[in-house]
């Protein structure tokens, strides 16, 4: 199928792979074929529900119960046919020769085992080594991935590390066994831009050293094109397009690939809207926010300062993007404005009136928030129409009919048909849920909305729709928006101005084009560099960087 990498005999050859729900059920993967040469990287790209994860799990023989591989599928690893391998033989291959890295570093490490024990687990299982030898190898690996104080790290527990560190540890413990093939299932989706870059670079380094082939699974075509030469684009279980990533990006042939490429973040046409910062709506003066320490049973944990003296102005109707890594205090700041967090000191004014006084309830009603995770931001027991109508209950001037009308109006504004009104949140997709959350936020016609990473939990094509929706609603109703995000691609599409935050301080504020084209602060430059945005000069065309991807 892939003539360009056929020269040495492939390490993994998947032929006509189909995965079914039960013997007579629907196919979640339908006739997928690809092959990976030794030391090469291949990416399966697709959105949630495209079957990419199930295809990878089928390779490892780890399909969740009702799912089965159809009898005429073939998965050949070196010279072994994996689909007909007995479980015991499969276990010998798993881990030792095919390693896997999962998406969620927060849950894929066992919280009650030390890092050292977890790294040793694979070695103990697959290789006959002495304790000292295992320890030496683990230490060498930790040093290799540039972890500070590797000896200490061996005795530490996973919760002592950040998400990026955990993912590096995970990667290290998988690579410790020097597998022939590494399957990485969205290894960096849960991570920040900067960290994402680090982890992927490390993955390429380690696998190149060991001549390990990589099967990378991702929804992010932009990221994939930076690292991987060959991609397979999947849609609803079918491989709709495969080939070299640059070619797929530059000249997508299939309709779906075109949509996917089209959804890659790109600066909105016509540049930022006119600078409306002239009339300030919200002003923050010297905001400091501390998280209180805890009085534990045995020791007092010190408090943590999340925001160190921030000044910020948000003008009427403008979108200010607040950009930064996780832990930079951007979310805390957004929450402080809507009153979910009390600042330790400083002043917040809304139309010139302080929000921190008692009796700011009326002003608060003009502010709303859209949360990141549409799965936890809607009450699972409320029907969609009740969720959207709830904020109106605190609107004393509207009667029942006016409320019903407003709800209907908002439904059509966010693009939800009337048939959604009686549904429950779990019956909706992520994008639909986020539309409901947006409807709830704008139903009172607020003057200001905080959007806290509103699209980072969604698929690329859905992201694009939601960003468009936010922008068009803003144009219609003229509310100001604080767009909190670590995703520079999304920011580029919606922001008028950008504020960059690092360790609780704002290091740079400016008009979007200024910040993106001529960043002044060192941190902004690093952030932009890591963001793997599409090259802006050639709309939608990304030159693969000279990054050494070994063949």
């Amino acid at each position: 199928m892939t003539p360009q990498s056929d020269v040495p005999s492939p390490i993994l050859e998947v032929d006509d792979l189909s995965v079914q729900i039960g013997p007579a059920g629907n196919k979640v993967v339908d006739g997928l074929s690809f092959s990976i040469a030794p030391g090469d990287m291949l990416a399966l790209v697709g959105e949630s529900g495209s079957g990419k994860t199930m295809a990878a799990r089928a390779v490892l023989g780890l399909l969740p119960p009702p799912l089965i591989v159809t009898p005429d599928s073939s998965i050949r690893f070196r010279d072994t046919e994996l689909t007909r391998l007995p479980p015991a033989a499969m276990r010998k291959i798993r881990g030792a020769r095919i390693g896997m890295v999962f998406q969620e570093p927060m849950v894929s490490l066992n919280p009650s085992m030390t890092v050292g024990d977890q790294m040793a687990e694979g070695l103990l299982l697959h290789q006959r080594l002495g304790k000292a030898e295992i320890r030496d190898r683990c230490l060498a690996m930790l040093e290799r991935i540039r972890i500070h104080e590797p000896t200490k790290c061996l005795a530490a527990f996973p919760h002592e590390f950040s998400g990026g560190m955990r993912q590096r540890i995970m990667l290290a413990s998988v690579m410790l066994l020097k597998p022939d093939l590494l399957i990485a299932d969205e290894p960096t989706t849960a991570l920040d831009t900067l960290v994402q870059r680090d982890v992927l670079d490390l993955m390429v380094e380690l696998t190149t050293e060991n001549q390990t082939s990589v099967l990378l699974i991702s929804h992010d075509l932009g990221m994939v094109s930076h690292y991987v030469r060959n991609v397979v684009v999947m849609h609803k279980g079918v491989a709709v397009e495969q080939g070299e990533s640059t070619q797929v990006l530059q000249g997508p042939k299939h309709e779906y690939t075109k949509r996917l490429v089209d959804a890659l973040p790109r600066r909105s046409a016509g540049g930022a809207r006119a600078d409306r910062a002239g009339e300030p709506l919200i002003e923050l003066r010297d905001i400091v926010i501390d998280y209180p320490g805890r009085d534990g049973l045995f020791k007092k944990t010190a408090g943590k300062r999340a925001v160190h003296g921030v000044d910020l102005t948000i003008g009427k109707g403008e979108t200010l993007a607040l950009v930064g890594a996780s832990g930079s205090g951007k979310t805390t700041l957004g929450r402080a404005i809507v009153g979910l967090v009390q600042p330790t000191s400083g002043a917040i004014t809304f139309r010139g009136q302080s929000l921190l006084d008692q009796g700011a309830a009326a002003q608060r009603r003009e502010m709303q928030i859209i949360f990141q995770d549409p799965y936890s931001s809607l009450d699972p027991r409320q029907r969609v129409e009740d969720i959207v109508a709830e904020p109106l209950k605190l609107y004393p001037t509207m009667d029942r009919r006016q409320r019903a009308e407003r709800v209907k109006e908002v439904f059509s504004e966010v693009g939800l048909g009337p048939e959604f009104a009686r549904r429950l949140p779990h019956q909706l997709s992520g994008g639909q849920r986020q539309r409901v959350a947006i409807a709830r936020a704008i139903v009172r016609r607020p003057a200001f909305v905080v959007a806290d990473e509103p699209v980072s939990a969604l698929d690329m094509t859905v992201q694009k729709q939601i960003l468009k929706l936010i922008r068009s609603l803003q144009e219609r109703h003229g509310f100001a928006c604080l767009f909190v995000s670590h995703d520079l691609g999304a920011v580029e599409q919606v922001a008028d101005r950008v504020a960059v935050m690092e360790n609780g301080r704002i290091v740079e504020v400016g008009a979007r084009d200024e910040v993106f084209d001529a960043p002044k602060h060192e941190y902004t430059k690093r952030l932009l560099d890591a963001a793997m945005l599409l090259d802006r000069k050639f709309a939608g065309v990304q030159a693969v960087k000279a990054k050494a991807v070994a063949v």
Binding site: L340, S377, D379, P380, L424, Q427
Partner: protein, 277 residues
């Protein structure tokens, strides 16, 4: 297995069987006095410890009292005690648990310190202590058992509240401008219903058993009034002679527990929004 044979979904099967059992229990509890063939206290020394016969369908006990009539009257006592105790413990447990979980801070610390101190004692021991205060009467038992099982309810409810209050829809409700009380009533409490239902049905079983244990110790429903528990307790000396005196009340307790648990499962699934289409 039976459910599959009848081609009923598990949920409906549970609800059906559980519902029938509980409905029968309630019917007998209410209509017992009219249905019972004899006065449960009437002595008939001629048929002492006799097995089933046309005169006494389920036999007679050590004083010749009709077992069927005693079971019917006993159903009334046992069901009343179990339902009231569960209602008592859940009602106050939910109030305390929600307060502690939602308000946190000092309220939580004081309530939970007290609660955990109570939790340290076995429920039955605690009930015995309370019985000493309230005296051995039916209402005494209800209050004593209710208080004894209260700490468990508080713990479960507080845990559920703690996990739900961190969800973003609760914060969304605050940003909307809802007061804490409305947020609690509209968004937090309804989402705690599933664990509370499971706990309530499990507790139903514990309480029927605890009541028999108390009766066994002579602190339950005072004789000669029948309850399933004290019937079980007083039949002990005759276990080899007349096993029906032990088996019949035991069977009543088991069937009731099974029914209540099945109904509880069905209710919990029914209340889960994910199970509705």
């Amino acid at each position: 297995m039976i459910a599959r044979a009848l081609k009923l979904p598990r949920l409906r099967f549970n609800g059906l069987v559980g519902g029938i059992v509980v409905a029968m229990l309630l019917f007998i509890a209410i209509a017992g006095p009219w249905l019972a063939p004899y006065d449960p206290l009437k002595l008939d020394l001629m048929s002492r410890l006799k097995g089933p016969s046309p005169a006494h369908l389920l036999g007679a006990d050590e004083f010749g009292r009709d077992v069927l009539s005693r079971l019917m009257y006993g159903a009334r006592t046992s069901a009343w005690i179990a339902f009231s105790t569960v209602a008592f413990a859940i009602f106050f447990g939910v109030i305390v648990g929600v307060l502690a979980g939602f308000l946190r801070g000092w309220t939580d610390r004081i309530l939970m310190t007290f609660n955990d101190a109570l939790l340290a004692f076995p429920g039955l021991l605690l009930a015995l202590g309370f019985m000493a205060v309230f005296g051995a009467s039916r209402n005494g038992i209800i209050i004593a058992l209710g208080l004894a099982y209260l700490p468990v309810v508080v713990r479960v409810v507080r845990g559920a509240v703690l996990s739900i209050r961190e969800r973003e829809f609760v914060e969304a409700s605050r940003v909307m401008g809802n007061s804490e009380i409305i947020t609690m009533a509209r968004h937090v409490l309804p989402n705690c219903v599933a664990p509370i239902t499971v706990l309530a049905t499990t507790m139903f079983g514990w309480i029927i058993l605890s009541e028999s244990a108390l009766s066994f110790l002579g602190l339950g429903v005072p004789p000669p009034a029948p309850s399933w528990g004290n019937m079980l307790a007083t039949a002990r000396p005759y276990i080899s002679q007349s096993p029906h005196l032990i088996i019949l009340p035991g069977l009543c307790i088991s069937i009731t527990l099974l029914g209540v648990n099945m109904l509880g499962d069905a209710i919990r699934d029914r209340l889960d929004p994910k199970m509705q289409s």
